[in-house]
Symmetry: C2
Subunit: 283 residues, 2 copies
């Protein structure tokens, strides 16, 4: 283990402290999926959303999955995790399994389940209260409609996009598709309020269909009295938007207070949705 | 270890029998590179080509690499491997290293070196002698010019393409880009002979710039008295080609004897290049 890396529990196929097989196809090809879930005193928040997205990805990639076994193992990992942290993050990696060399999938292969528990990231509390600074990334995401939406392990575009900046004052970068349309943040999804509408980019050629994004789409009528339009979003829509906010399952909602050179106010829609999500997390 | 998986030696950062860290970014994000090399009595074939491509990829992904350490470890692994197999395959995975959760790269991260030795794949000898059957894959590869050519660990497109067929009589599938231009095979590069020219698809928006492909491009004037044109290749160029062949560092050259419904002859250019590569492998 590298110096500076916090040791925290790992389970592989239910066995605590086990190590991955060097021949796992997750490592060889990124042949798998992941979920990053937040837990608190009441358990994993949005667990049903996470499991539904995992099943969607497993079906796209044709990876086998046992939901009831996963529920049991997630439950046991969270119970152990709560002995370390009152709130934290549980990351699940589901790979196609251990294989022979080569792309061909061996018959009878069984998927690998990896669970890791860690503390909540130590982000400044004002990022949620007053908003974050965001940049536009240079990276353009390739299009593949089969993989779009799936939270799979092929994430080099996100890694390289995150390498574009070092400034700790910038919380997130926005990623565009090959045509320059904004799709998402590196580790978040994005919403904007413009002309009285709430919009979020459609995830049909690239990007991840985030769990918190889906929760907000589902609950917006209840939270703010209007629905979300899921649509293509040109970059200009962001430079002209009245409100912008980011979300994911771990941080909840971050208002955007600055996008590139432009300052924004934390508006009424963003505040309501942020506060609703904070209550979901027991705040 | 899963039943049916051949146990063969693994080295991690020089330590034989070690296991990967579950937090390695190679597993989390496919954040790394690989090389699949063939070795024989004289050592690793085309080692300088492999190391050059690895350095190209490491520079694109901004992963640190120590070539002299890699050479030493590859040498030691091959020496052990030769006690098991007179000829075989040595696979190197180089990841960015072990990280905290999240895309951001921790300062001071050190890359992980994984080496695995295995036997040569047991392909029918007639595939090299008489040629192989090949199909067109439905999968279309997404475009990303930053990642094009790099043998990185984000290989879900190849995995899903290889899942398209089960028939063991079909050796390979051809993959196209989003516009339908043929770029490569799932695990090989492709060349064609047409109108007196030797052509291979340009690798500038997707695909892997294979080591054997580069060797053939470099040596074609010596092997067959003419150079290779590296260019965009529409699907129609394949359905009309006089000769087609596939190559990679492990199998050498496979003539294509059937492409979808069409039969092809093993032509003179293919035979000369195949035989030259076979001599490189000591045949």
């Amino acid at each position: 283990m590298q110096a500076g890396i916090t040791a925290s529990p790992v389970w592989i196929n239910g066995e605590r402290g086990a190590s991955p097989d060097a021949r796992d196809r997750g490592l060889a090809f990124g042949d798998g999926l992941f979920e990053t879930m937040r837990f608190g005193p009441s358990g994993v928040y949005l667990l049903e959303y996470h499991l539904r997205r995992l099943e969607f990805g497993a079906s796209r990639l044709r990876i086998s999955l046992d939901p009831s076994l996963l529920r049991t193992e997630i439950g046991a990992a969270v119970e152990s995790g709560r002995e370390l942290f009152p709130e934290g993050v549980i990351k699940l990696i589901l790979t196609r399994g251990v294989g022979q060399r080569g792309y061909k999938v061996s018959p009878g292969i069984t998927s690998t389940r990896i669970l890791m528990v860690s503390a909540l990231p130590a982000n400044p509390p004002e990022w949620s209260a007053e908003g974050v600074s965001v940049r536009f990334c240079d990276m353009r995401m390739g299009a593949n409609s089969v993989l779009a939406g799936v939270k799979h392990l092929n994430r080099l575009e996100q890694v390289l996009a995150r390498l574009e900046w070092d400034d700790p004052a910038i919380a997130e970068g926005l990623l565009a598709d090959a045509r320059g349309r904004i799709v998402e943040g590196v580790a978040t999804n994005v919403f904007l309020v413009s002309g009285g509408r709430i919009l979020t980019p459609v995830i049909d050629t690239c990007g991840i269909a985030g769990v918190m994004r889906q929760y907000i789409i589902d609950k917006a009528p209840e939270m703010v009295g209007q629905g979300v339009d899921v649509t293509s979003c040109e970059k200009g829509m962001f430079t002209g938007a009245r409100e912008i906010f980011l979300c994911n399952s771990v941080v909840g909602v971050w208002p955007v207070a600055r996008l590139a050179e432009r300052k924004l106010q934390v508006g009424a829609v963003t505040r309501k949705i942020r506060d609703h999500v904070a209550r979901l997390f027991g705040a």
